[in-house]
Structures are given as C-alpha cells and as structure tokens.
C-alpha cells in the first residue's frame, strides 16, 4: 500500500504531523520519500525515505525512528523538485495511488439512459456509413476507366517480304505506330516485330497442325492465321519480361537462334524455348501478306512472365 497524502505520521513515541507531500522516483515510478510536516516537526518539512516506514494504513504511517531522531532527516529543498503536472512521465498515473479519495463529476441527467446512448451511437454509425457510401461505386469506376481499355484490332503495315533472303532466318521489321492516349495529342512510337519464312518443318512446329485463332475480350473471333501460310511474325517482346530480343548465330550450337539479352532466353526459329527462363514460346501475331508482298499485322501485346498467353494490348 502506498502512503496517502494528508495521512497522519507517527514516530515510535508520538504523533508528529502529517504527510504534506510525496516524492516519486521517475524511473521506477515508486514512492521514494514522504515529506512530513506539521506542528510536531517544528520548522522545515522533513524528507523521510520509505525504508523508514514501519507500517502504512489509509490514514496513518508508522515510522521506526523516535521523534527526537526526526531532525536527522534532511529538510525538503522544494526548488529541487517539480510537480507531476510539470513533467511528462509515461504511465505515472497507473502506478500512483496517493490520493485518499476520488474527485467526481456528475453524469448529465440525459446521459444516464443507456438505451438512449446506444441508440444514438448506432444511428450515428448508420448515418455515417451511409453518408459517403454513394461515392464508392462511382469512384471505383472513375479510377478504373483506363485500366481495361478495349483492344485496337487495326491492321498495320510493317514491311515487305522482299527483305527475307532465306528460309528459317529471322528478319526484324521496324515500324511506327500511331498512339492516342486519353487527352494527349497523337504521338508515334517505334515498334518492331520478327518475321521469318518458315520451312514446312518449322511451320509444323509453330502451328502444330491447327490454324491459330485470335479473339478479342468478348471471345469474338478477330482473325485466323492459316497454318499453310509460310510467313510467321513474332511479337518483338520476349515473353519472359518484355525485353527486345535478337537473331544471333551461336557458334557453339552451330546454328542461328533468337536470343534475349536481358536474361538469356533462347528460342529456335519456330519460337520454341531452347534455354532460359522464358515461360512460353514466342508470341505469334496475326499476319496477312498481300499480292505485292506487303506484310500487315495486328499489333498485340501479351502479359509477360506467364505460361498462359493473355492478351493485354
């Protein structure tokens, strides 16, 4: 039990006064001294360590020493101390119980009804939730506007097959694409694709006996690459993480392959993954070649790093 302010102090022989102040150790948050004052003390208030206390009750503290010995205790030097309102000591109130009573404030009459209080609390929550709720759906759609744009399936002219000199050799076709984003003025970006004239064996590898179908988001068929058309166009982006790859002759393998410089994925002329971290073969694009040998493609981009091929542009 902690000594209480204003409780009487008794020495071994007689009552000497009362506790006028209490001193707390700021680190341990425990009462370290009591300050005894009053007529029996005579003169200055004396600072008495708690070790001198023999017993403590609510209204009385019994000291071991005799009243005559009281003078040995040092007088209080008030200027060496500050009140607990002048300094911030964490959680001090939790550890301090030196007041002998409570200070109370009456609850207003209107607040005494618990039912009323809970009703208005719940109603406030209900109204609060409803007030801004109307914005939730419009805001979501507002923010999502550019996220799932419909696909542009326009045919773009990218080059001519007269650039291809031999079978099964990758040839890069560079082209410019017109882009209009939201409110920005129309801009041109540089893009590229790889085309090769496939021999029947490579063509078989690419198509695996089936025509290749390209669909849009609703599942509607946009184009079919017929498996007997010998020209194959690959998207210029590596399906691993989207880097631009190259056609290289590898002396060690003695043949030419597609090589991606970023993470060294290697593809054979049919696009099949020979080595490296690529999760799927090179992505084929819709192609049509007109009578004059002009190559047209539908520009598509696919999600990088996944085994399944998902169109994103």
């Amino acid at each position: 039990m902690q000594p209480k302010l204003k409780s009487k102090v008794r020495c071994a022989d007689r009552e000497v006064g009362e506790i006028t102040r209490v001193i707390v150790d700021p680190l341990s948050r425990e009462v370290s001294h009591i300050v005894v004052g009053g007529n029996g003390v005579g003169g200055a208030e004396r600072q008495v360590p708690v070790s001198e206390m023999q017993s403590v009750t609510d209204d009385l503290v019994q000291l071991r020493a005799a009243s005559s010995a009281l003078a040995q205790f040092p007088p209080l030097k008030r200027e060496d101390y500050v009140t607990i309102h002048e300094v911030e000591i964490a959680h001090l109130e939790d550890h301090l119980h030196v007041e002998s009573g409570e200070v109370l404030v009456p609850l207003p009459t209107l607040e005494r009804d618990v039912l009323r209080r809970t009703f208005f609390m719940n109603l406030t929550h209900a109204i609060g939730a409803l007030v801004a709720l109307p914005l939730a759906f419009p805001v979501l759609k507002y923010l999502m506007k550019p996220m799932y744009s419909p696909f542009d399936n326009a045919w773009l002219k990218v080059g001519n097959v007269n650039r291809i000199k031999a079978d099964d050799v990758g040839v890069q076709l560079k082209y410019k694409k017109k882009v209009k984003e939201a409110f920005m003025p129309e801009a041109e970006v540089d893009k590229n694709v790889w085309i090769l004239k496939a021999s029947p064996a490579v063509l078989e590898e690419v198509y695996k006996g089936k025509d290749m179908e390209f669909r849009d988001q609703t599942g509607r068929l946009v184009w079919t690459n017929k498996k007997d058309v010998p020209y194959v166009v690959f998207s210029g982006k590596c399906p691993h993480l989207g880097c631009g790859y190259k056609w290289r002759k590898v002396p060690k393998l003695g043949k030419e392959i597609f090589l991606c410089p970023c993470h060294l994925s290697i593809y054979d002329p049919s696009g099949k993954v020979l080595d490296g971290p690529a999760p799927r073969p090179l992505d084929t694009l819709p192609i049509r070649v007109d009578a004059g040998g002009n190559v047209e493609i539908i520009d598509m981009e696919f999600k990088a790093g996944t085994k399944a091929q998902t169109r994103i542009v």
Binding site: L110, R116, T118, F119, A129, L130, P134, F137, W155
Partner: protein, 286 residues
C-alpha cells in the same frame, strides 16, 4: 421560475414549432429530391414535384408532431395530446392553402407594384443621370426593402395564426406534473424508439437501397456535354473478306480489259482516217 411552464405569445409559439419542423423534414426531402434528380426528373416540375409532395406528407406529419410535442412539454408544460402531428398538419395545410395563397398573392403584387413605382421615380429627370451600377443597387434596395417588410409582416401573420392553432391544442391538453428537468428528459427520450434493432435495421436497409437506386439511375457520362467536344471515335477494325477483295480485283481487271478492247476496235476503225489519233488513242496498260 424554471419549473413554471411558460406562456408564449402566438408568434413565438408558431415559430417554436414551425422552424424545427421545417428543418427536421429537410434532410429527408433533400435525399428524395436527389433521387429524383438522378433519374433525370426536376423536383420543381411535374411529375417529380407531385412525387415529392406526396412523400412529404408523412414526413411533415412526423416532423410537426415531433416539434409540437417537444414544445408543448418543455415550454408549455402540458402533456401532448394523441396524434398531435396529424392534427397540426392538416390544420396547418388548410392555413397554408388559404392564408398562404393570399399572402403569396399580396407579396407578388407588392413586388410588382414597388418595382414599378421605384422605376418611375428613378426615371425622373432629376435622377436619370445616375450611372447604371448605382441605379441597379438603389432600385434593388428600394423595392427590396418594401417587399421584405411586407414579407416579414405576412410571415408573422402566418406564424401568429399557426401559433393560435398550437395554443388551441395545448389548452385542450392536461398539464404535465413533472419538473422541468423531468419534462426535458421526457421529450428527449421520446426520440428513442421502443424497438431499437428493428428501427435501425429498417433505417439502414432503406438507406442502402436508396444508394443502390442512386447508382443504378445516375448517368455515367455528363448529361450536359459541351457542344464542340468530339467524342473519341474508335475506328472499328475494317472487316476484310479476302475472297471478296479478289473478286473485286477480278471485276476491275475484266472491266479494264473490255474497255481496252473497245478502244482498240475504235482505233482500228479510225485507222484510215487518223494514224496519229490511233497512236494517241493507244490506251495505257492497266
């Protein structure tokens, strides 16, 4: 003196009931008007107005009942009679229909009349030279103050009559025995429903369904587009049918061939007449 019920002048009484009743119903009516607007209806035109007025009836009955009971208890110290809201509502509606329309008419006449008089005064030679900005403000202040004073008088008259209606209800009621504090507690507690969970569930459900209706009805793109804004037209991918293209090409070629043949025939016919013409008439290869 606080425990003694107060006697109130009719105007004060009328205001004490009408003012809170008006504002109590307002949030609900604003929400209803908002729903109408989301559906593309104007709440100040029929049919939206009819819908709003119809739904306002129960709201107003409840609101005027609530304010009436509060005032009767707290200020006049009487027990509110049953269905106070309904009684005050239909009496108030009758008052609004009769006195209200008369007051509207009088106010409109006052405005028109004072505007005309003020305009005539300012047209006098003496005042004709006042510049336009000053003239506008002076005119407005002049007829505005007259109209405002008349409006105030008419409003006070209306409140007076309404206050008398409320007083009649209070006179017929039995006095409340409780102290002021207890009476305040009583009207405060009147606002707490008997079945809280039910009330709260219904309230939340109605609120949520109103929000859902709002989302369903509100237009996604602006209802007032700018006249010169061009909507971003996405060009549909031209659907190409290869066989059709080939057939078309064939048709063009055959047409070209026939016209070439025809011209050659013509040239042969003119062979004797103009050899140079023949050379000039040689058509270019398609």
């Amino acid at each position: 003196m606080t425990d003694q019920p107060t006697q109130m002048s009719p105007v004060k009484l009328g205001l004490a009931v009408a003012w809170p009743a008006f504002w109590t119903g307002m949030p609900i009516k604003i929400v209803l008007a908002l729903l109408l607007l989301a559906m593309g209806q104007h709440p100040w035109e029929f049919p939206g107005l009819a819908f709003l007025l119809l739904l306002s009836i129960p709201v107003d009955i409840w609101a005027v009942g609530l304010s009436g009971r509060t005032v009767l208890l707290e200020r006049l110290g009487v027990e509110p009679p049953a269905s106070l809201g309904l009684t005050l509502w239909w009496q108030g509606a009758a008052l609004y229909a009769t006195y209200g329309s008369l007051a509207c008419f009088l106010e409109r006449q006052t405005i028109a009349g004072s505007k005309a008089v003020v305009a005539r005064i300012l047209d006098l030679e003496l005042l004709k030279t006042i510049p336009i900005a000053e003239r506008i403000s002076i005119e407005l202040t002049a007829w505005g103050s007259i109209a405002a004073v008349v409006l105030l008088a008419l409003a006070l008259g209306g409140l007076f009559l309404f206050g008398k209606l409320v007083q009649r209800q209070a006179d017929a009621a039995s006095p409340a025995a409780a102290s002021y504090e207890a009476r305040v507690y009583q009207w405060d507690l009147m606002r707490v429903p008997a079945d809280q969970p039910l009330m709260l569930t219904v309230f939340t459900a109605v609120g949520v369904s109103m929000v859902l209706m709002l989302w369903a009805f509100m237009p996604v793109t602006t209802p007032h587009p700018h006249e010169s804004y061009k909507q971003d037209e996405k060009k549909a991918a031209p659907v190409l049918k290869p066989t059709e293209a080939l057939q078309k090409a064939e048709r063009v070629l055959t047409q070209a061939e026939t016209s070439v043949q025809a011209l050659e025939e013509k040239a042969r016919k003119n062979k004797g007449k103009a050899p140079e013409k023949k050379a000039a008439a040689k058509p270019k290869k398609a």
